[in-house]
């Protein structure tokens, strides 16, 4: 047993030291694998970053109420009377000023996007005073909150970054009026940071919404009381609504886009992985064939098949891991924290986010590299072990 292990050690050392002599073909394999990992990690970091925003947006003790049948805020519509009944329902957390419920409007406004210069659907939200208590993570980082009843807005930090004309003090044309940006807010990385907020009663006439709303956001007493609260609303004969936890709502909203990016990313990386396996096979076959005589000599000296197979596979694995590490590093440098905004088709509005290269993704990339290396090393290793000694020694 010890003999076997020491044979492996000797061969692995020998193989690794000779990689440099085959730097051309080794570099080709390494390069290929680095590319695969960089692309896999890079593309998935887009989906990761997007869902990170969506996940930061929801809290289990916050619920939103839409008209039954509507699957997004944009599609929903609730009358003033309905929102009052909802706000009076038992089960909503309360502060000294009353129930933590905010009836809101959610529309879009065309503003030019910095990266393309063309109009984009920027989400514009009209809120009631309780909105800031329902979403306690919203805080103003620059300027001041808008004053109720005036043509003033506050803008999320992501929206300021991605769209033109939203800096502090700028005016946004809305129909015949102009609204002034008086503050910039953050919301713990959540989707609100992509939005513009104003007083719902200012937004209603500007968008001809009469006295109607689209959603009610409420803070429920405890996350566990959600089901009771939901049942109370859905069984109320005066109402025709649906009640969703905020985190479920946003998780739902991100399925299409993360599915799209993950689908494309996996397809591309899968195809590339196949390509890289061919590259690795090529490299390892030529590595084995250039050493035909050495391997035969080893056989003649009494080295076993096992150590020879393992040594070739370790060589492939080492190449793959180096390639994988380079690729993962490249992806991290190139993509981590890269800021972008894209259209979320489910909400028909823009979402600002940052690419997110997580340790999990890096690990996945390197694991993928290792698999490519093992596959690429296996067949050449078997060939090395099967080489007949006499014929191989004669060759070359």
């Amino acid at each position: 047993m010890f003999n076997w292990v020491s044979q492996i050690f000797a061969l692995v050392q020998f193989n690794l030291r000779t990689i440099w002599q085959r730097k051309g073909s080794s570099a080709a394999a390494l390069f290929g694998i680095a590319g695969v990992v960089a692309v896999l990690v890079g593309v998935l970091s887009i989906a990761q970053g997007f869902s990170a925003v969506m996940n930061a947006s929801g809290k289990p003790d916050t619920a939103l109420i839409l008209r039954s049948g509507a699957d997004t805020e944009m599609m929903s519509g609730l009358s003033r009377e309905t929102t009052r009944i909802i706000a009076d329902t038992e089960g909503i957390a309360r502060s000294t000023e009353g129930a933590l419920a905010s009836a809101e409007l959610f529309v879009i406004i065309d503003l030019p996007k910095r990266s393309t210069g063309t109009d984009a659907n920027v989400p514009l939200r009209g809120v009631e005073p309780m909105a800031f208590s329902v979403r306690s993570d919203v805080n103003i980082i620059q300027g001041r909150p808008f004053e109720w009843g005036r043509n003033e807005v506050i803008v999320g930090s992501g929206a300021v970054r991605e769209f033109e004309g939203l800096e502090l003090g700028r005016r946004i044309p809305v129909g015949k009026e102009e609204w002034t940006v008086v503050g910039i807010f953050e919301a713990n990385g959540g989707i609100s940071e992509s939005e513009i907020w104003t007083d719902a009663s200012v937004l209603q006439p500007a968008f001809r919404r009469g006295n109607s709303f689209q959603a009610v956001y409420v803070k429920i007493e405890t996350p566990e009381s959600f089901q009771d609260f939901k049942d109370r609303l859905t069984t109320d004969p005066r109402l025709n609504v649906k009640v969703i936890r905020q985190d479920d709502y946003y998780a739902d909203q991100s399925t299409a886009i993360t599915g799209l990016i993950t689908g494309l990313g996996t397809l591309i990386a899968g195809l590339m992985g196949i390509g890289a396996v061919f590259g690795a096979l090529n490299t390892m076959y030529s590595a084995v064939s250039s050493r035909t005589r050495e391997i035969a000599t080893l056989h003649a000296l009494g080295f076993g098949n096992g150590p020879i197979v393992i040594s070739v596979m370790v060589e492939a694995l080492v190449l793959a891991l180096i390639g994988g590490a380079i690729g993962a590093g490249l992806a991290y440098v190139a993509f981590d924290g890269f800021r972008a905004a894209t259209m979320n088709w489910q909400s028909f509005s823009q979402v600002a986010f940052a690419f997110d290269v997580t340790p999990g993704l890096l690990g996945r990339g390197i694991f993928y590299a290792a698999m490519i290396g093992l596959l690429g090393g296996l067949f050449p290793a078997i060939r090395a072990a099967r080489m007949p000694v006499a014929a191989a020694l004669r060759e070359g």
Partner: protein, 384 residues
Amino acid sequence: MKFLKLVISNFRRKIIRTVLTILSILVAFILFAYLAAIRQSLSQGIDVAGADRLVVRHKVSIIQMLPGSYEADIEQIPGVADATFSNWFGGIYQEPKNFFPQFAVNPEEYLAMYPEFLLSDEEKEAWFSTRTGAVIGRNTAERFGWEVGDKVPIQGTAWTRKGGQRTWDFDIVGIYDGAEQGTDTTQFLFQYAYFDEARSFGRGLVGWYIVRVDDPDDAVRIATAIDDTFANSPAETKAETEGAFVQGFADQIGNIGAIIQAILVMVFFTILLVAGNTMAQSVRERTGELAVLKAVGFTGSHVLVMVLLEAMAIAGVGGFLGLGVGWLMISRGDPTGGLLPIFFLPTKDIIMGVICVIALGLVTGFLPALQAGRLRIADALREL
């Protein structure tokens, strides 16, 4: 002829390497095909946008509706040939993930505006005369297995019926094909009259207008004239060419699309670089053999052509197979399950692919071939 024999025997020399190289090139060109299809898809058919059509929407945002009376006003403007409207419905068939676009339109006017939607005369007649009739694109029909005569219930999300019901029933009376490769055949079109009468609010309002102009060169002036007509009214408009509208819509995806495409281009060239390196290497390894060939009387240009032919053959087999396999895979539909409505391999990209294949063969074969052609017999044989 004897050349061919030599080339083939060279392939067999290291059959595994030859096969692996061909397979790498094959994969690269499958990726190339997907790149082309994804780019086409993200641009959402800008190529097929009508040059003589304008889209007129509410100035604040497209979700704001416009009065139905604007159609007559627009048609008064000199240079306007025709105008019609469309109305986003946004309903759900069974589940939200079964997304496809639905529009409430005036059938006669809409088909006149979009002659690239091909329907038989019987289907047109049936649609015009059936109040709950709907026509759907081939793509959507095949996706859900719908046929003419089927009854399809759609759940309204924004639009409820008077009385609060959410289910709208439609009769499929026709399936349209696209006149061009890039025509959107995912749309579900139904009668505005049925929609407007039954909806619980918003009567008389429409989503946006599509305007045909007499002279495409005049489009920008007419767009300005339309916007001026409705300036200072409660619903101001923004008119632009259909191309600009579609481009603006596609641009909403932002640089994500560009990034994915850049990645694919990188990948394509990386694989080609690796494969090209292997091909060049296999020529270098044979310096001795090539010298022997020259020693027995082959001329420099013979050897050059032979090496070049070999590279072209490898690139050709791998590249054309790759394009073919890519085309087959893409024809089976988009990899995301309906999120990319227009997903096909455009002809111009197939031609581009063929050019890339030939270029690959030339580039990877040329340098080694040149070296081989110039090989001095004595030098090369001494190295053996």
